[in-house]
């Protein structure tokens, strides 16, 4: 049976995954009442687990180093309670080659690397050039489904990555921003979030040389 995480874990994890989010986004990430998210955010702030930052016009919450430690402690406890560590490691192993293809496709979407090694921006004026990249993203969207199902069967909080990714890819032909954009729920953004979720859940250090 799938495990449903506690609200306090979900709210802190929503800040980890969003990276830099306001309280509304904390509530929205796992469909939590805003009042509950507000009260949890207050507790996190008092515990020193989150900090408020302002960059230009945007303000939001990010995890502090101690918040990150607490987040990973909660995730590790949950994983051992559900006995899902081995499955999670298997899924991560299957995820890595897909991740390698995803970053390749996103990079090809953004630029062409010329024979001399220099970079030229892709202006998306050539539909023929973009078509195989979109086909690769569609293939990745299909391959993400069984992974998401396996994860979600054990931990409910992993639901939605496949459908969000597929939704972004389905819009990409008409809106190139949906592949690598930073402002919307683009394919790369959803994927980066899943990558972060797996890394956080397994307590992997991103700084170690293990791929992109």
């Amino acid at each position: 049976m799938t495990h449903v995480s506690r609200s306090s874990l979900l709210a802190l994890h929503a800040i980890r995954l969003g990276g830099f989010v306001d309280t509304q986004a904390v509530a929205d990430r796992y469909g939590m009442p805003v009042a509950l998210a507000e009260s949890l955010v207050r507790d996190f702030r008092e515990s020193g687990w989150i900090s408020r930052f302002r960059f230009g016009a945007d303000a939001g919450w990010s995890l502090t180093e101690s918040g990150r430690v607490e987040n990973e402690r909660l995730l590790a406890d949950e994983l051992s309670q559900c006995g899902a560590k081995a499955l999670m490691e298997d899924v991560y192993r299957m995820f890595l080659p897909l991740n390698a293809r995803l970053v390749q496709a996103c990079t090809a979407w953004q630029l062409t690397i010329l024979p001399d090694g220099s970079m030229q921006d892709n202006d998306h004026g050539d539909a023929q050039r973009d078509r195989p990249i979109l086909a690769e993203l569609e293939s990745l969207a299909h391959e993400l489904i069984p992974l998401t199902i396996q994860l979600t069967e054990r931990l409910a909080r992993f639901s939605g990555y496949d459908t969000r990714f597929a939704a972004a890819v389905s819009l990409a032909a008409d809106n190139p921003e949906m592949v690598t954009g930073t402002k919307n729920d683009s394919a790369h953004r959803v994927w980066f979030e899943l990558h972060e979720d797996l890394i956080a859940t397994l307590g992997i250090d991103r700084a170690l040389p293990s791929g992109p």
């Binding site: 980890r16 995954l17 969003g18 990276g19 830099f20 900090s51 930052f53 960059f55 230009g56 945007d58 939001g60 990010s62 995890l63 502090t64 180093e65 990150r68 390698a100 970053v103 390749q104 996103c106 990079t107 953004q110 630029l111 690397i113 090694g117 220099s118 970079m119 921006d121 690598t180 954009g181 930073t182 790369h188 980066f192 979030e193 990558h195 972060e196 890394i199 991103r206 700084a207 040389p209 992109p212």
Partner: protein, 114 residues
């Protein structure tokens, strides 16, 4: 004659720009980042993309042209040099640097040029 770069890495996002060096070890350093800073760090995760919206350029010690950080830097249109081994130590004593994301070079900028 062009000066020898103080740091080299993989070119990951095109352009050349100069700015004050800001070493970012963790989120706890985010508060010190000012618009126009050059962010120098080990690696990045999703929270760091907020920094990219105000930074002039980014230098990371890990990653490659395909890494998530490189993809995000290109979206923001800021020069990026990645896989720049030892960048944090090498740039710690510099105030202003110029990041050449087209060639993967980082140069010192003399104070008179600031």
């Amino acid at each position: 004659m062009p000066e020898v770069p103080i740091v080299t890495g993989a070119p990951a996002s095109r352009g050349v720009v100069a700015g004050p060096v800001r070493l970012v070890h963790s989120v706890d350093d985010f508060g010190a980042v000012r618009p126009g800073d050059v962010i120098v760090c080990r690696t990045t995760d999703p929270s760091w993309t907020a920094l990219f919206s105000v930074a002039a350029a980014v230098v990371t010690e890990t990653g490659g042209i395909l890494s998530h950080a490189a993809i995000v830097a290109r979206e923001y249109g800021i020069p990026a040099v990645v896989a720049a081994e030892g960048a944090m130590d090498a740039l710690a004593n510099h105030r202003t640097i110029s990041v050449d994301g087209t060639n993967g070079h980082v140069h010192a900028v003399r104070s008179t040029q600031r």
